[in-house]
């Protein structure tokens, strides 16, 4: 006896999660391939560290594996759920590594229209982003780099949309200030 069920893209998340809870390896593989890039990129963009991004990715999916019942399709997509977990993991790892490095005053950053990549392959603007306080770094990464809209970013950060807008505006101001050489005339 076979019943045909057509699953739309919006219900894929619920079906995937249910199949994973039952031990379906294919569903697990599909889920990982679907979301790993996004989670990894978020971790890298927040820290500039491939190893931190790798660890955050692993911890995020392990959290889902351990507690799959915590995902509620009625509250949001699986991608948003995983991103929220990843955010907490990244913040914990940054705190543990004390990854916040304030840009020293007076240092000139040559961020021009052409690509400016240091020996580590990181752009100057990424270094500037990683030097921002965490609340501002998050909105820059989510909105400007991950290209989430304000509502999605607000959901990921668990804050109002207005807070996302104001933090983004302030974050951009801070980046521009640090892009300008603060050198004595």
């Amino acid at each position: 006896m076979v019943g045909m069920v057509t699953v739309s893209s919006s219900s894929d998340d619920a079906v995937l999660a249910a199949q994973i809870r039952k031990g379906c390896e294919l569903s697990w593989t599909i889920l990982y391939q679907r979301f790993q890039g996004r989670i990894y990129r978020f971790g890298w963009r927040m820290s500039g560290s491939p190893s931190l991004a790798e660890e955050a990715t692993q911890e995020t999916f392990l959290a889902l594996l351990r507690y799959p019942e915590r995902f509620d399709p009625a509250r949001g997509s699986l991608g948003s759920f995983l991103l929220a977990i990843a955010r907490k993991k990244v913040l914990d790892l940054l705190e543990a590594e004390r990854g916040y490095v304030a840009m020293p005053e007076g240092k000139c950053e040559n961020v021009g229209a052409t690509e400016d990549v240091d020996v580590m392959g990181q752009s100057a603007v990424l270094r500037l982003i990683c030097g921002l306080p965490t609340p501002y770094r998050e909105v820059i990464v989510l909105v400007e780099l991950d290209e989430l809209d304000y509502a999605e970013a607000a959901a990921a950060l668990d804050c109002p949309v207005g807070t996302v807008r104001s933090r983004l505006h302030r974050a951009r101001q801070m980046l521009i200030e640090r892009m300008v050489p603060v050198c004595p005339a």
Binding site: Q19, K22, L26, I30, Q58
Partner: protein, 187 residues
């Protein structure tokens, strides 16, 4: 600092740099070892002992063999191959332990009562476990899903790696225990 007037030129420069960073980092993915370790953790969590007595499994295999061999060929669904794809430069495929069974078994008859929708072309079903797909009297479901095209490589189908992340529809046979038994790809 709070009194700074906005500078359109600097805003534009920042926007360009952010867009460039987004584009350059947009292709980044987690290393293959992460997938392998997570898959190992998944299997460890869901490891289960075989509950089938040996003799019952053997009997089921005999019945399945008689069933498959006894079907007239003209009642079998047409074996449709996906059109050949031009193999682009293959991307690095994660080294993942093969999903059992290692050699996918093509099922031609067990699911002939569940044809693909009209005007659809589908591959045969590929078994995802050894033994019979559906036990006698067992309820099962056919679920349509969207999966990455790269999934087809696990079943020996050619994949255009330049387009591997694009979605393709798949019908997955789910047993009463919620475990996937077979899959076919649909176009």
């Amino acid at each position: 600092m709070s009194g700074m007037t906005p500078d359109p030129e600097k805003e534009q420069m920042l926007s360009e740099q952010l867009a460039l960073l987004a584009k350059r980092s947009g292709v980044m993915e987690a290393p293959a070892r992460v997938e392998a370790e997570l898959l190992q953790a998944f299997r460890h969590k869901h490891a289960r002992r075989a509950v089938w007595p040996y003799w019952l499994g053997t009997a089921a295999a005999v019945v399945a063999t008689i069933f498959f061999v006894g079907q007239p060929k003209d009642m079998m669904p047409p074996a449709v191959e996906l059109p050949p794809v031009i193999a682009a430069v293959p991307r690095d495929v994660p080294v993942v332990p093969p999903v059992a069974p290692v050699v996918p078994r093509v099922v031609r008859t067990a699911l002939r009562s569940a044809p693909a929708q009209p005007r659809e072309i589908a591959t045969d079903f590929f078994a995802m476990r050894t033994g019979p797909l559906v036990d006698p009297g067992e309820l099962s479901s056919l679920v349509r899903m969207s999966v990455p095209r790269s999934t087809m490589s696990q079943f020996g189908l050619p994949v255009d790696w330049a387009n591997a992340d694009a979605a393709i529809r798949a019908d997955v046979l789910i047993g009463q225990d919620g475990v996937a038994r077979a899959i076919r790809f649909v176009r």
